[in-house]
Point group: C2
Chain length 190, copies 2
């Protein structure tokens, strides 16, 4: 089983090492991790970004599953690039797994960034925009995509010391993917 | 042609009115706008959020195109729910259109939220995470999805007074979709 490893991890200073670590965890569970290319290409802007796009799209097309790192990125919610990739894989009928190293609900996290008021039982941020308050870890489109096209969002009990380098929740996703693969094989031996 | 109207517009206090306005603009150009359901359902949490998810997914499946409002939402980039939907539609081979009412590049916007430093010609935010610096309006996965599966991101010359109620860029997308439809009809008359 090939798994596309989506997430803002590609933006870390040690992105390549983090990728190696994640791919290694997949290998340990008998799976093939595919890590996005964002850091492998280092030439002029437009051409480079298109090459990364095409490379990532080809990687997603060749993968059987996605593990999306939905840990909050530059704000209260997930990285939009990762969200795009999760939607892409859901639409292709691939197995969708995801984790966030922040177990707070989306509404709780918005409070950290903005004054949140409640009117007629509905939460709104400082701009007056409604705050999703379903008790979910992030936007309902992503969270229910995991529920329905894969497994529930994986979160730790508490925020780990280093959200970008703690791989426990990630490894839980890998394990779930491996179990899914084993179940498929059991159903269709040979 | 049916167009799914994705965006954080559903979180506005006057979300329903904004939806009517957008659907009306589609109608004026001979198209059918489908506006997400997030505000139509108002019952208990989990059930409601699942109902919204299923409704939005069904709407996307029935649409021929998407117009994604990628105007920055609670941070320097697009709403992750909208990004998810853009990825979903791209994967289904639907026509992908999008706009942002902030014409700044993603890197410029990150500077508004975080101290950005440059090391070896690469930008990084206060957490040390790399800042995409391709001169694009947002994460490359979304921007190139528009380039390759539809039309270039539409932006105004300058930020309008009310980013959530200025429909000029949106209407440009509607016009492009209508032109695309007309071209299809011209190719296959009757």
């Amino acid at each position: 089983m090939k798994i596309y490893l989506a997430g803002p991890d590609v933006f870390l200073p040690d992105a390549i090492e983090v990728g190696r670590r994640k791919v290694g965890l997949c290998t340990r569970h008998g799976l093939t991790g595919l890590y996005p290319l964002d850091n492998a290409i280092d030439t002029a802007a437009r051409v480079a970004s298109l090459a990364i796009f095409r490379g990532n799209e080809a990687m997603m097309n060749s993968a059987d599953a996605i593990i999306a790192n939905l840990t909050p990125f530059r704000g209260p919610g997930a990285d939009a690039g990762t969200a795009y990739e999760l939607g892409y894989m859901a639409a292709r009928g691939k197995l969708c797994l995801g984790y966030s190293n922040d177990p707070a609900s989306y509404a709780e996290r918005v409070r950290r960034f903005s004054a949140v008021t409640s009117r007629d039982g509905r939460l709104a941020d400082a701009q007056g925009l409604a705050v999703e308050d379903f008790g979910l870890g992030d936007n309902l489109m992503m969270i229910h995509a995991l529920d329905l096209h894969g497994c529930l969002l994986v979160t730790p009990r508490q925020v780990p010391l280093d959200v970008w380098h703690d791989f426990a929740a990630f490894e839980t996703c890998v394990r779930m993917a491996a179990e899914r693969l084993a179940a498929l094989h059991a159903r269709a031996p040979g």
